[in-house]
Amino acid sequence: MTTIEAHAATSHQPLGPGFDVPGKETTYRETFNRTLRDELNRDPDVFIMGEDISGGFDEQGNPLDAWGGPFAATKGLVQDFGMERIRDTPISEAGFLGAAVGAALTGTRPVVDLMYFDFVAVAFDQLLSNAAKSRYMFGGQTKVPITMFARSGGGTGHAAQHSSNFYSIIAHIPGLKVVVPSDAYTVRGLLAAAIRDDDPVMVCNHKKLINTRGFVPDESYTVDIGKGRLLREGSDVTIVGMSWTSLVCKNAAEQLAQEGIDAEVVDLLSVSPLDEEVFLDSVAKTNRIVIVDEDTPRASMASEVAAVVSDKAFDYLDAPVKRITGPHTPMPYNRDLEAAFIPDEAAVVNAAKALLAV
């Protein structure tokens, strides 16, 4: 086990800038691209498909790489790996996700860019009925090593049909795994783990995280799927985040510290499988919990974490479980309305203080 793998395995320990390995500060976007490149180099069965992942062709049919994928996730890959491995698709989410499942069932490891998270719904039957269920309903004869990624979340003016966060819907489905990286370090480890996993894995990239910067080790590593981590240790209240809201929680905890409140921040990293221990251990210590999720509230991951805490840590609670989510509405377009939708630091700080009656 490398140093990095050891860090990932002991995920209750804080991870990130400062640990003693060679690396550099870089963006989430660059790290994502580099991880795809590493995995393409590592395993010849890995290939990528999606709309405009190179983007554009000249009159001879040669790829132009005019887009390099939505948000430039795959920029530059087609030059090095060619059109068979960087396979641009027509706009046919159900068709190409289904084809990817068929390819995965027959001996390859496709990575599928679904562009915006909302477009999962266009391909949903292939995800629910074929990707998720084949291994079980065929009695374990097959595996389905497919990785899907898409951009989730609000805050960028993409409005109602390009801003969804419904990873809870996918987490609901047995057979699928769902990861929610929160920075450059975790997206590298989780994406690599997803591509090497034999089950279908959805990687949710929040649009507001894509240009964030963070420390990334030089050597390749994986972060365990199904393991959360602590972003900050504390004793007064547990604050749980996922994807973008992990950053919100971390910032809120720093504000609370200035007011003398010592918050512990849990970053879920995976929503399925869900690491129950990481937040149950925390709430056993702090006796209070705030869960922060940008998804709409009903049947959300926030609801799920609250249910697990009520079920398994009720006796440790000194205050009601508090959920902070978006409202039960589509994502609005107007900047002020959109900002009001997304949980922010002030909401987290106020909720934590209310639980502590200060």
Partner: protein, 330 residues
């Protein structure tokens, strides 16, 4: 006719095996031995047989809810199929799939699929694997007339055509999607005409004539193996039974219509042709039938005597999405 004798024997054996499997399966279903719904493909035997005659275990097929015929034509074992329908541990999927999810990956059978049209892109994906890995394997997607209303079929045909994949789209037009006639639900008179919309050749075939199916499928599959891309086969056929075991088809189809299709029965027609042309003898055909009649009795006995799956199988073949109770917390 230039079909080798061994292949003729295979065609007859396979069609008859499908027929008797379906009859036996239905009989056992009515006895309460199946744990769920079953869909008989009786009457449609020539389609899967004539197509799969050109395939090996290295080729892949996707299937439908009416998949027993595809399974048998692809070489699956009747014993393990019957045991799967009986829900037994010895079933093809350990009793966890049932009639609508029988699969055998060692035989290139990607599974019966209970969502209409949903299996089609899987065969396209298998063809993508073949192209990606540079093998000469092909994918065949079996689907019915009902799938013609599904978007994913059209997406799959377009993808296969633009990527020039080695795949054959085999539409078994049995003229009814559940109770709805094809004339009501499909906007074209001949489904095969849709091939030109996707720039691929279309073959319109009498799906009750295994020789016609064999010839057209041979051309389509050879074309795919040569790297010339996909084709569409329309096999016009008829299911003798209802949509599922308890369906009464005479509520929506006439007896006369059914009789006209039965008069063109694929197995009877085959027997007539090969005996008239002295390609196979009546004794030879009878011997094959006797062997298969016995094989189905054995399959039922095997399924009947097989154990139920362990209850632990509920949790196997999938990661369990929650941890065990955390020590000290309850």
């Amino acid at each position: 006719m230039d079909i080798p004798h061994g292949k003729l024997t295979w065609l007859y054996t396979t069609m008859y095996r499908i027929r008797i499997f379906e009859e036996t399966m239905l009989e056992q279903t009515f006895k309460g031995k199946s744990m769920g719904v079953t869909h008989s493909s009786e009457g449609q035997e020539a389609g899967p047989t004539g197509v799969c005659a050109h395939l090996t275990d290295n080729d892949w097929i996707s299937s439908t809810h009416r998949g027993h015929g595809h399974c048998i034509a692809k070489g699956l074992d009747a014993k393990r199929m019957m045991a799967e329908i009986f829900g037994k541990a010895t079933g093809q999927c350990k009793g966890k799939g049932g009639s609508m999810h029988i699969a055998d990956f060692s035989k290139g059978m990607l599974g019966a699929n209970a969502i209409v049209g949903a299996g089609v892109p899987l065969a396209v994906g298998a063809a993508l694997t073949a192209k990606y890995k540079g093998s000469d394997s092909v994918g065949v997607a079996f689907f019915g007339d009902g799938a013609n209303g599904q978007g994913v079929l059209h997406e799959s045909m377009n993808l296969a055509s633009v990527w020039k994949l080695p795949v054959v789209f085999a539409c078994e037009n049995n003229h009814y999607a559940e109770a709805t006639p094809v004339s009501y639900a499909v906007a074209v008179g001949d489904i095969v005409d849709r091939a030109q919309s996707y720039s691929m050749p279309g073959f319109a075939v009498d799906g009750m004539d295994v020789f016609q199916v064999y010839e057209a499928a041979g051309e389509a599959i050879a074309r795919a193996r040569r790297g010339e891309g996909p084709s569409l086969l329309e096999l016009k056929t008829y299911r003798y039974r209802g949509h599922f075991h308890a369906d009464e088809p005479h509520k929506y189809r006439t007896q006369a219509e059914e009789a006209s299709w039965r008069a063109r029965d694929a197995i009877r027609s085959f027997e007539k042709k090969v005996t008239e042309q002295d390609l196979m003898s009546r004794e030879e055909l009878a011997r094959i039938r006797n062997d298969i009649d016995q094989e189905m009795l054995d399959a039922v006995e095997f399924a009947e005597n097989s154990p139920m799956p362990d209850l632990d199988e509920l949790y196997s073949d999938v990661y369990v999405s929650y941890s065990n109770p955390v020590h000290g917390l309850r």
